[in-house]
C-alpha cells in the first residue's frame, strides 16, 4: 500500500489499533504457555514420544547401574557382589525414571490418563471429560 498515504484520522485509528493489539499480546504473554491449547495431532506425537522415552530410559538406567557395579567390582575385587547390588539399583532407578515420565509433578501432574475416576477436580490440559486426576498427592490405593 505505498500509494495511499494515511491521513491524520487514519493515523489516530492506527494508533488505537496498535494499542489494542499490544494489549492483546501482553495479556497473552502473561497468560503464558498454559493458556496455549495444544492441537490433537500434537498430543498423539507426544504420546509416542512418551512411550519411546519410558522404554529407553528404563533400559538405560539398568545398563548404567550394571556397568557401575561391574566397574566397582573391578576396582575393589569383589567380583559378583557389587554388580548384583548395582544391577538392582539400576532397575530401581529405571522404574523411577518411568514414574517420573508418567507423572512429572506428582500424581496431580500426571501426563497419562489416571486410573481413578472419582475426583473431577482436574483443571487444565486436554483430557477426555469424565477422567479426573488422582486424589490427594500420595494416594495410590487404586493404582497397580
Amino acid at each position: 500500500m505505498p500509494d495511499d498515504k494515511p491521513e491524520n484520522g487514519d493515523i489516530e485509528a492506527l494508533k488505537t489499533r496498535r494499542e489494542a493489539l499490544r494489549q492483546a499480546l501482553d495479556s497473552r504473554r502473561s497468560a503464558g504457555g498454559a493458556a496455549n491449547p495444544k492441537p490433537q495431532a500434537d498430543a498423539e506425537g507426544r504420546a509416542i514420544g512418551y512411550g519411546l522415552r519410558a522404554a529407553s530410559e528404563f533400559a538405560a538406567a539398568v545398563l548404567v547401574g550394571a556397568a557401575i557395579g561391574f566397574g566397582l567390582d573391578h576396582v575393589f575385587g569383589t567380583r559378583p557382589w557389587l554388580s548384583i547390588v548395582f544391577f538392582f539399583l539400576g532397575v530401581a532407578s529405571g522404574v523411577w525414571n518411568v514414574i517420573r515420565i508418567a507423572m512429572p509433578k506428582g500424581p496431580e501432574g500426571s501426563v497419562l490418563p489416571p486410573l481413578s475416576r472419582e475426583s473431577p477436580a482436574y483443571k487444565g490440559g486436554p483430557r477426555p471429560a469424565g477422567e479426573g486426576a488422582n486424589g490427594a498427592p500420595g494416594r495410590d490405593d487404586d493404582e497397580d
Binding site: G33, N36, G45, I48, G49, L52, R53, S56, E57, A59, A60, A61, L63, V64, G65, I68, F86, L89, G90, A92, S93, G94, W96, N97, R100, P104
Partner: protein, 256 residues
C-alpha cells in the same frame, strides 16, 4: 538365500563410512567422509534457511520466512514450556540441535543418501554435549547446591543413601538413553526399509507368478516410509524436549 538373479542384499551396507577426500595430518586420519559431507550439507541447509528466512524484505513474507518462523516458534515454545523464560539463554544450543537432528533425519530418508544420526558416535557426541552443559552450568550457577538434584526433599534419613544412589544412576543414565534412542530409532527404521526393499528385489527376481507378490512388501514400504517420516520428526522433537528438561534441572536443581 539370494538367488543368482537377485543381488545380495546387505541391510547395513547403507551405514558404511567412505572417504570422500583423504586427509591425513600427523599420522591421524582427518578424512572427509560421506558422514561429514552430509553434516556439512545439513548445516549449510540450516544456515541457508535461517539467513534467507530472516532477511525479511518488503511485502508479504515468503514461504522460507514462514518456515523459519515456524521452526523458531516451535523450538522457542518448547524451551519456554520446559525450562521457563530463563531457559531462553540456551535457545541457540537447543535450536541448533533440533535443526541438525531434524534435517539429518529427513535428508537420510531420501533414497541413496546417508543418515548422519544413524551413527551412535554422532548422537552420543550431542547427548554428551547436553550432559556436559547441564553439569557445567549447574555447578557454575549453583555450586554445591546443584548436587541437591540427587537429594530429594522429604525422604527419611535411613533410606536416603539408597535414594541418592538411585538418583545418581538415573542421572548418569541420561546421556545413554538420550543418545541410544535417537541412534537406535534411525538405525532400526533404515534397516527395516532396506530389508523390505530387499524383499521386493528378491521377489521380482523369482520365477513367474511369484513376481506379483512383490506388491506386498512394496506396499509395506510405503506405510513404513510414512512412519519413518513421523519418527524422523518425533525423534528430533524428543531429543530437543529432553534437552530442555535437562537444562531446566541445571537452572533449578531443587525443582523436583
Amino acid at each position: 538365500m539370494a538367488t543368482e538373479a537377485a543381488p545380495a542384499i546387505n541391510p547395513i551396507e547403507q551405514f558404511a563410512l567412505s572417504k570422500v577426500v583423504s586427509v591425513e595430518i600427523a599420522g591421524h586420519d582427518f578424512s572427509l567422509t560421506n558422514s561429514s559431507l552430509y553434516m556439512i550439507l545439513v548445516v549449510g541447509l540450516t544456515l541457508g534457511l535461517m539467513f534467507q528466512g530472516a532477511k525479511g524484505g518488503p511485502g508479504v513474507p515468503g514461504r522460507l520466512q514462514a518456515l523459519a518462523e515456524v521452526a523458531y516458534e516451535f523450538v522457542a515454545g518448547m524451551v519456554k514450556s520446559a525450562a521457563g523464560e530463563a531457559g531462553m539463554r540456551f535457545f541457540p544450543l537447543v535450536f541448533s540441535l533440533f535443526m541438525f537432528i531434524l534435517l539429518s533425519n529427513l535428508i537420510g530418508l531420501i533414497p541413496y543418501s546417508f543418515t548422519v544420526t544413524s551413527h551412535i558416535v554422532v548422537t552420543a557426541a550431542m547427548a554428551l554435549l547436553v550432559f556436559g552443559t547441564v553439569v557445567t552450568v549447574g555447578v557454575r550457577e549453583h555450586g554445591l547446591h546443584f548436587f541437591k538434584l540427587f537429594v530429594p526433599s522429604g525422604v527419611p534419613i535411613y533410606i536416603l543413601p539408597l535414594v541418592v544412589a538411585i538418583e545418581i544412576i538415573s542421572f548418569l543414565s541420561r546421556p545413554l538413553s538420550h543418545s541410544v534412542r535417537l541412534f537406535a530409532n534411525m538405525l532400526a527404521g533404515h534397516i527395516t526399509l532396506n530389508v523390505f526393499g530387499g524383499f521386493v528385489v528378491m521377489l521380482l527376481g523369482a520365477a513367474g507368478v511369484l513376481k506379483v507378490l512383490a506388491i506386498l512388501p512394496g506396499a509395506m514400504i510405503i506405510g513404513l516410509f510414512a512412519l519413518e517420516l513421523l519418527v524422523a520428526f518425533l525423534q528430533a522433537y524428543v531429543f530437543t524436549m529432553l534437552t530442555c528438561m535437562y537444562l531446566n534441572d541445571a537452572l533449578h536443581p531443587s525443582g523436583h
